[in-house]
């Protein structure tokens, strides 16, 4: 397959794909869901390329992905569909010391609503300012702050279940 030129629209999207992949995975519950969301987003972006105003391509794509995620998730019932992915599908470049701690954190993230999760991830993963989140999602900044606050509170509660004792695998 021919690689699209760097200054073509496709080429610019291609260059964004790695970081888009990280963001889409941060919104979803499994590697497969993350890839699917990424694929749908790219498909939509390509189809709508005429609507892009020529500025901040990345921001435009992130907004499209966030909306796809929020709309898509709303269509399903809230039952968590959990998949255990094949070990070879997961890459661990920088694993947290304790795999159980990682999975507790993922569980806590999976317990967030789409609204709260996407605000948190835009801030934490994408490094958006609160104002940028407000603009990207077309919501008031006060709403950004309350969603962020709720997300953090919820994670905090989930992470300290009282009959759970955290052990660290000694190195």
């Amino acid at each position: 397959m021919k690689t699209p030129g760097q200054d073509t629209f496709e080429g610019q999207i291609l260059a964004l794909l790695p970081s888009l992949r990280r963001y889409s995975r941060s919104l979803t519950r499994s590697d497969a869901d993350g890839e699917d969301l990424l694929q749908d987003c790219v498909e939509k972006v390509l189809a709508r390329r005429g609507q892009w105003r020529g500025l901040n391509l990345r921001g435009w794509v992130l907004t499209i992905m966030t909306n796809l995620y929020r709309n898509g998730r709303r269509q399903t019932d809230r039952a968590p569909f959990v998949e255990l992915d094949n070990a070879e599908d997961t890459v661990s470049v920088d694993p947290a010391p304790d795999p159980l701690e990682r999975s507790r954190l993922e569980d806590a993230l999976n317990s967030l609503s789409e609204e709260n999760r996407s605000v948190l991830m835009l801030v934490v993963i994408e490094g958006y300012t609160y104002q940028e989140v407000a603009t990207a999602l077309d919501i008031p900044i006060g709403t950004v702050m309350s969603r962020l606050s709720r997300a953090r509170q919820r994670i905090g509660e989930r992470m300290k279940a009282d009959n759970v004792i955290t052990l660290r695998r000694p190195k």
């Binding site: 992949r21 699917d36 898509g72 959990v82 795999p99 993963i125 009959n163 759970v164 955290t166 695998r169």
Partner: protein, 260 residues
């Protein structure tokens, strides 16, 4: 000083944790935090968690061979929306099934309550301990003198490659042996250990494809303590009539030795 500090809001604390404040404002928040340990703890928790979340997803920032196909329109089949459609279809089919079950003859009695392995594991572990730890002559099927055979045999039944029987010598427990037994409706393994005083404890391992990893949890019943956890598809439980502290060390040691 205090008058200025009183204007610190929760939003300021978030902004501080997220590195969204100019230097001058940071100084003001830091002064506030040094006087308000509760807020300082919250901010520290958020900051650490930000790093954990970034670390959790950092590895996904990569390109794949399929990326070019993705932007040139030659994409792979299954997609987010198709999967949702599939889900909807599955739900619809189950819905039909449920309806026909309601109006038709009852073919399957659905159990009242489906417990996940996380819920059944501590009970199964306690029962296995009660039944086998008291056995004098036949506590296990395969004794420790055939440890290699024990590991291969039970590893095969559990579909675990290179199953290692945990070595708890450093904690003063010697392997007695092990046996095959049902765990969560499938083949499971039990290993038994005893210390010099003859105090026994058991380690139970079971597999369930529906499992999701958890942290360590404990359950008590009378004097019997169980530590249990799920790592991937495998559920583990360590049970004994020993102190929770000892058992926790055993659990920690098993967790360290079992493949993750």
């Amino acid at each position: 000083m205090n008058e200025i500090n009183q204007t610190v809001t929760e939003a300021d604390l978030h902004a501080y944790a997220d590195g969204q404040l100019p230097d001058q404002a940071r100084g003001r928040i830091e002064a506030w935090l040094s006087d308000n340990p509760d807020d300082a703890a919250r901010v520290a928790e958020w900051t650490a968690r930000n790093a954990d979340i970034r670390s959790l997803f950092a590895a996904y920032e990569k390109s794949t061979d399929a990326d070019i196909g993705l932007v040139t329109g030659r994409r792979q089949p299954a997609s987010w929306s198709k999967r949702l459609a599939t889900m909807a279809a599955i739900i619809a089919i189950f819905g039909l099934g449920a309806l026909s079950g309601h109006y038709g003859p009852t073919l399957f009695e659905r159990p009242d309550l489906q417990l996940t392995e996380l819920e059944t594991l501590p009970n199964e572990a306690r029962n296995a301990f009660l039944v086998y730890a008291g056995e004098v002559r036949h506590p296990v099927e395969v004794f420790a003198n055939e440890e290699a055979h024990l590991a291969t045999w039970l590893g095969k039944r559990l579909a675990v490659q290179d199953l290692k029987v945990p070595n708890l010598q450093e904690l003063g427990f010697k392997l007695v042996g092990g046996r095959l037994l049902p765990v969560d409706g499938g083949p499971g393994a039990m290993f038994m250990y005893e210390d010099q005083a003859g105090e026994r404890l058991t380690v139970l391992v079971g597999r369930n494809a529906d499992n999701r990893s958890t942290s360590f949890r404990f359950a008590s019943s009378g004097n019997i303590e169980t530590f249990y956890w799920i790592d991937g598809e495998l559920g583990y439980a360590v049970t004994g009539e020993v102190s929770r502290d000892v058992l926790r060390k055993v659990a920690e040691e098993c967790y360290r030795q079992f493949p993750s």
